[in-house]
């Protein structure tokens, strides 16, 4: 018996010492490629580039990416089409495309429900007029779009509760948070995030408004100066909306929502307000406000529920937060400009952060050790690394 125990413990010790490989899929939005990145605990590298899209001379913009709950397939939204974007289904490992379906305008982030097996993808509709867009609901077995649920202007950040019964998304321009019942496909709750931010339990006099991302141009690197007017700063309320009433333009500008793995809480990134709101899905009220660096964009919560990792797009940094204390444990510089997505490994040990870069910069994935809160290594991939999804740990 003693011998057996020794053998068992030895085996466990050997196994623990063996390196674990982590795999993430990352979309390179301006390269029309998806990279498979492998991280062995020390080094991160792109081990495969998967070309995507069917309109070769056009940039189709792979944007959102997710791995299904069973790990057999990954799903990719291609933002641009003629004019509608497309959702593709790929087999993990072989990375062969096995199905596709046309969705709405600029399909973006998405997730598959563990309860219904359906995929919920927001149609970001970045193409112009600020009108309410939709969440596409897709039967991934047959790759059929079953319905579109109208939400707000520029919906983004589709995430489900761990039981798969509620889907959350935010509307970037109309500043709303939506809760959708994953079975009935009805909107069950809506929250005005600008109001929620104001009502949040925090002393607003402490806020540093100078850090707010007010949509500044990223054209600072242009060789020639832009002497003229920047029309991105125009008053949208004066636009010709074809007879439509002018839509609210949220100052909070929510870009992402993530769910807590065990508690009835969601976390919303306020890209325009430099803050993350914690909202109770029971009371539908803000419970905490986390002041962040400029331009919080994506959020992921560690599967153990202890850490929140936030990409600060404008600041080109990543924040690691302790959810229990509400304190930012680290604010790390990313390897280049335009920090984008976050995916945390299933063992809650590592955060993989995609960093877009500008122009012909290569896309990058920074790997952060969530035990030491340090950046360990960077993998390189095609231009504009954006959507990122954790696939698996392999021993």
């Amino acid at each position: 018996m003693k011998k057996t125990l020794i053998i068992v413990f030895s085996l466990i010790a050997i196994t623990a010492l063996q390196a674990q490989n982590y795999y993430v899929y990352v979309a390179a939005e301006s390269e029309d490629e998806v990279a498979l990145v492998k991280f062995d605990g020390k080094k991160a590298e792109t081990i495969k580039n998967i070309p995507v899209g069917i309109w070769p001379a056009e940039n189709e913009g792979p944007h959102g990416i997710t791995v299904g709950p069973e790990g057999k397939y990954w799903y990719l939204s291609l933002a641009h089409g003629n004019p509608y974007g497309t959702l593709y289904k790929y087999e993990t490992g072989t990375d062969k495309a096995v199905g596709s379906v046309t969705l709405g305008l600029f399909p973006a982030s998405m997730q598959v429900s563990a309860a219904t097996g359906l995929l919920y993808c927001v149609n970001f509709n970045l193409h112009g007029d600020m009108v309410p867009s939709t969440v596409s609901v897709v039967d991934v077995e047959s790759m059929t779009e079953l319905t579109q649920i109208t939400t707000g202007a520029m919906p983004h950040g589709s995430r489900l509760t761990s039981d798969g019964l509620k889907q959350y998304s935010v509307a970037m321009m109309s500043g709303e948070l939506f809760e959708i019942d994953a079975i009935s496909l009805k909107i069950t709750k809506t929250l005005d995030l600008d109001e929620a931010s104001k009502m949040a339990p925090e002393d607003h006099s402490m806020m540093d408004h100078s850090k707010m991302d007010m949509g500044k141009s990223k054209m600072g690197d242009e060789k020639k100066s832009m002497a003229g007017m920047d029309h991105s700063q125009m008053d949208h309320s004066k636009m010709d909306m074809g007879g439509m009433p002018a839509m609210k333009h949220s100052a909070f500008k929510p870009t992402w929502v993530s769910t807590h793995p065990t508690k009835n809480l969601v976390y919303v990134a306020g890209n325009g307000a430099a803050e993350v709101l914690e909202i109770s899905t029971d009371t539908w009220k803000t419970t905490r406000k986390f002041k962040t660096d400029k331009g919080p964009y994506n959020i992921d919560i560690s599967p153990d529920g202890k850490r929140m990792v936030v990409s600060y797009k404008t600041a080109a940094k990543t924040g690691v937060w302790d959810l229990e204390s509400g304190k930012e444990l680290a604010r790390l510089d990313n390897s280049q400009k335009v920090t984008h997505g976050v995916a945390i490994s299933s063992d809650s040990k590592f955060a993989f952060v995609s960093v877009e870069g500008i122009g012909d910069d290569p896309g990058m994935v920074d790997v952060i050790d969530l035990t030491t809160n340090r950046l360990i290594d960077t993998a390189y991939l095609g231009k504009q690394a954006g959507g990122i999804a954790f696939w698996k740990i392999e021993r």
Binding site: E29, S30, E31, D32, P51, P56, A57, E58, N59, E70, H80, G81, N82, A114, A115, T116, G117, L126, H127, G128, D129, D139, E141, S142, T144, L146, T147, D163, L165, I183, S184, L185, K186, G215, S217, K218, M219, D221, E222, K223, K224, S225, M226, A227, G228, M229, D230, H231, S232, M234, M239, D240, K337, V338, G357, I358, G359, D360, K383, Q384
Partner: protein, 653 residues
Amino acid sequence: MKNLKKALYILALLFPVTLFAQKEIVIEPANITMEVGQKKQITAYVMENGKKLNDPINLLSRARRSLSIDSTMMAHAIQPGTYDIVAVADGVRKNFQIKVNYPAIAEIKIDDIPQKIYAGTSVALKYHVIDKSGATRDDVDVQFSSMYTNIAEVDDFGTVNTLIPGKATITVKAENVTNTITVNVVSNPIVKIQLEAEMNTARTGDVFHFKAKALDKNGKIVPDAPIFYSFSGVADNTSQSASGLIKNDGRFVADEAGRYTVTASCGVASASKTLKITPREVTRKIEMVGQGSVNDKHTSDFWVWEGIDGRDYAVTGTWGADGTAYFWDVTDPSNISKIDSVQVDARTVNDVKISEDGKICVISREGASDRKNGLVIIDVSNPRDVEIISRFDENMTGGVHNVFISGDYLYALSGGQKYYIIDIKDPKNPRAVSKFELDTPGHSIHDVWVEDGIAYSSNWADGIQLVDVGNGIAGGSPENPKQFASYAYPNKANHASFPFRSPSTGKFYVIGGDEIFPYGLNTGKGGVNMAGGYLHVVDFTDLENPEEVARFEIPYAGSHNYWIEGETLYVAFYNAGVRVVDLSGELMGDLRKQGREIAWIIPNDANGYTANAPFTWGAQLHKGHVFFSDWNSGLWSAKLEPEKPKNTPIKVK
């Protein structure tokens, strides 16, 4: 053994419980069949271990436009067919089918046929099978029969061939429904056909206009005689078929040199005319003159213009790179030199255009780092030191793929859906004044070109759209664009459009170009590619009835951007380089087969971004030189040998 059991138990706990393992969704009734238009209540509930649960459940149709199910589980059959339904509840799902029966055929409608049909001629029946839901059906077996086959026979496709005078009954049957018409066959008075054409010799590609008259025994014209045209021929090249195209209005064009016989017939009467076709002989030499190399990134569109200092300049864009546009001095086409550049926040500067006065340049932006795409207006008064004047992004964030400048207005595509018309009288403060967008389902747009106050947009499946933006033909203006004509072709690949008013015929053509990549596109360094697609020549002379009359196609290559000057077309065909095409005279049929290709030139560059992989983007004639841009190698110039005067005497010493 005990330890093994324990281990297995722990393993079982560790492994995730399989989804949908214990629950089951029950659908009642089990087999559902509906009729079109019918509504039926479906019952669905979740069972677990024999116990009925009150779990919420949703039924979702995979074909909701053909069979919809509302939140009360009421199914509504819209179209016939068998449809998959997905039932979902918490942790359980079930797929089942609902069959919607095809409605029975209600009637067969047969279009009117001539009241009298001359014996020996034929008539094709036009019919429509309508079911009880009112839908026209083309999926049912239709049978034809004649009661008096000695008078008229009918084939399997509904063509009635008449034999002798008399009345024949023709029956059309689908399922158990029939319709019967009576064909009145009368004695054929036609004893002679007179056939005339404006010429009996011509070159390949020249269009004949045959006129046939059917005459009775008294020499009188029988005006309602149905006349059919056909041709046969023997090519001079004995291994080549004497191909051509004939239309039933008497137009004929030959592809090959040789002898052709055109026949007009009506019953047993016929007349033929023999034609001698000679080679078109328009080929000329073309020689490469110069190159402005870009070999560290892909090159996109370009524009050549005369600067305000009288020298000649060009601007080129870049693709899938760092948002750079280059400016070149091309005054000496054999010595193209890079003189300046701008870099904007983009990965692709797909299009570049210059104003008619040579002072303003506009470049498009796609792939911006903040996803706020748009366009940039540049002062090119001094092309050696260009200055960005302003940026325009409003409603352009989805990406500007193509732009055009006409007068004081910019035309800029937005997100592949529409184009905006932007007033640039004050280029520092551009201002959108209107937009043009179709309302068809899933409409999209690729390009816009403006000439004489008409905007020609290329709209993929919606084809070529002609919009009055100041011409006056439809009362339009830049502030109030008005669409007045369109033409869509079946392959849904309309990518470019260019107007061509034929000086020699007065006809108004618009040439629509495809963009197709049947073999994909390797965009990386080292990628060698082939494109597909061709040019469609559409005769818009009758704006209400545009007709696709001709094509220009290069096998195993695909069309991209082009330019027409005089009666000559300069077209980039990606991997097949630049093709120069004779557009003189009336256009009909396969222009390349007709020998209308004047010249071709392919830019091979051993130092290209991808070496020796020509992929030509567009072409433009400027002061006698053919300029063109290539995806892998930058900007090029070539010189076409002047056209030799016909019948030039040969000088001998």
